[in-house]
Amino acid sequence: MPVLEVKDLKTSFYTRDGVVKAVDGISFSVEAGQTVGIVGESGSGKSVACYSLLQLIPQPPGRIEGGTALFDGLDLLSLSETEMRKIRGEKIGLIFQDPMTSLNPYLRISTQLIEPLQIHRGLGKTEALEKAIAELDAVGIPDPHKRIHSYPHEFSGGMRQRVMIAMALITRPEILIADEPTTALDVTIQRQVLDLIKTRQEELGTAVIFITHDLAVVSEVCDYVNVMYAGRFVERADVKTLFSEPKHAYTRALQRSIPAMQTKGERLYTIPGLPPNLSAGVSGCAFAPRCELPTDAPEHAQKSPPLIEVSPSHWVQDCPGCLSFSL
């Protein structure tokens, strides 16, 4: 039984330039203890999708147009603000990319860490503080008794991200949403933070939704991956299948464009063009303008291609063009 089941989520933004369909009908589910990845370039809608689940989209200009997100028998998308507050930060934790902007610089770490316990669990200050110290210890902050009384600026970037993880997990949420948690960090710190998320997840059995643009990171942490492009999923598969048998042209292009994967001396492969302007509306296959098709290849889909299941739990957009050529 999945912890969270999202069906046909649609989020649009009503701007002066027209309606931007940032998320255009995506479905996915997360099981307890599982890590589900959402990968895509910036602007593909991956963050909007997750913020929609927590109703963190500014409305207006944003509007959740449809879909359901079942969590504990509740539809997250139709909850009132009061009901949502009981879930946000308690049952679903959130870590952002930049730990400096997501911690309050004026408040000591202690104040910020015990707040969720006081609000959601009704704990007293001393008891909450004890728990918070234990939590800091669990995420590997040395000397937590002293460090808990520090301010955010007294921590390094990696340590701040550890504090964020401690804060997100302190209420033992069922789901942790990690939005590019390591993008702002050094590779060595990134490694530590990824390992930390993994161990905490194993210890607590939390389900993780991992948002990133980095396929290499995905291959290391995720069990199941959704590749997002222009507001829709173009391919969904378990991590092994996605990397051994990528079907969609976009997934393959993304894999080819990782600098670490290419030999030195040759020109780096880049995906030509830019992601489509979503305010103009996309008809047919969204990746068609950037796809380098040989001349004899089949045409791209004229209508928005549906996802089809090519093998068990491996889904791909049914666009003859994108599925045609292989590497």
Binding site: D186, V187, T188, L194, D214, L215, A216, A253
Partner: protein
């Protein structure tokens, strides 16, 4: 003779600690760095955050005075030059920063940003509007920007395009040395490749010498001819980039190599 030479470059910072702040602790941010860079070479400089990479780059750019040691550019000790001379020389070495959102003036159009950069070298173009417009167009085409966007502001561009603008601005004064401080770290993986290709093309076409600073060895390996690894203010290893990957000598290099996420 090498193009740029760092001779035993050192920079200490003093930090007041203790009760009443009466004790002085010395932080050795850059501690005796010697390096030679040949003309047309791309040198990668890697290390974890806090190892002194950025302090070293500021010393090279003459934005900080060294505690001891010197920077020698084409046989000239930069520290010996008078202030106005350094100002004039600064056109020859330009920087590209990590965050293209923060390093461009949001109130200046692309045209005024680039025109300002060009005028530092070609002051005579100040009264020649057509000539200046032509120079800006050439610069934009050089970095792969559409010249129709010349009147737009930085916020109207994506991250990758903004970094192209920042690169164009760095090229404006026709520098000989470019110091790129984590130029692709803030960009999507798919955009990183585009910027790396561009930097390599620029080196090949314009004969630029480049110092490429990054914490990510996988990116540096691709672009750099040689890689210098820095730890706690010291250069611990310098090697050809493939050699560094094949047989890392120092512990920190091994740590950095292991940290690269791998596709499994």
């Amino acid at each position: 003779m090498s193009y740029l030479e760092l001779q035993n470059l050192t920079r200490y910072f003093e930090k007041k600690t203790g009760w009443l702040k009466n004790e002085t602790q010395i932080v050795k941010a850059v501690d005796g760095v010697s390096l030679e860079i040949q003309k047309g070479e791309i040198l990668g400089l890697v290390g974890e955050s806090g190892c002194g990479k950025s302090t070293l780059s500021r010393l090279i750019m003459q934005l900080l005075k060294p505690t001891s040691g010197s920077v020698v550019l084409e046989g000239e000790r930069l520290a010996d030059l008078p202030k106005h001379e350094i100002r004039r020389r600064r056109r020859d070495f330009q920087m590209i920063f990590q965050d293209p959102y923060a390093s461009l003036n949001p109130r200046m159009t692309i045209f005024s940003t680039l025109a300002e950069a060009i005028l530092t070298r070609h002051e005579n173009l100040a009264n020649d509007r057509d000539g200046l417009e032509r120079a800006v167009s050439i610069l934009m085409e050089r970095v792969g920007l559409d010249t129709r966007y010349v009147r737009k502001y930085p916020h109207e561009f994506s991250g990758g395009q903004r970094q192209r603008i920042a690169i164009a601005r760095a090229l404006g004064p026709e520098p000989k040395l470019i110091l790129a401080d984590e130029p692709v770290s803030a960009l999507d993986v798919s955009i990183q490749s585009q910027i790396l290709n561009l930097l390599r093309d620029l080196r090949d076409d314009l004969g630029l010498t480049m110092i490429f600073i990054s914490h990510d060895l996988s990116v540096v390996r691709y672009i750099a001819d040689r890689i210098a690894v820095m730890e706690a203010g010291k250069i611990v290893e310098v090697a050809e980039s493939n050699a560094l990957f094949d047989s890392p000598q120092s512990e920190i290099t091994k740590v950095l190599l292991q940290a690269i996420p791998q596709i499994r």
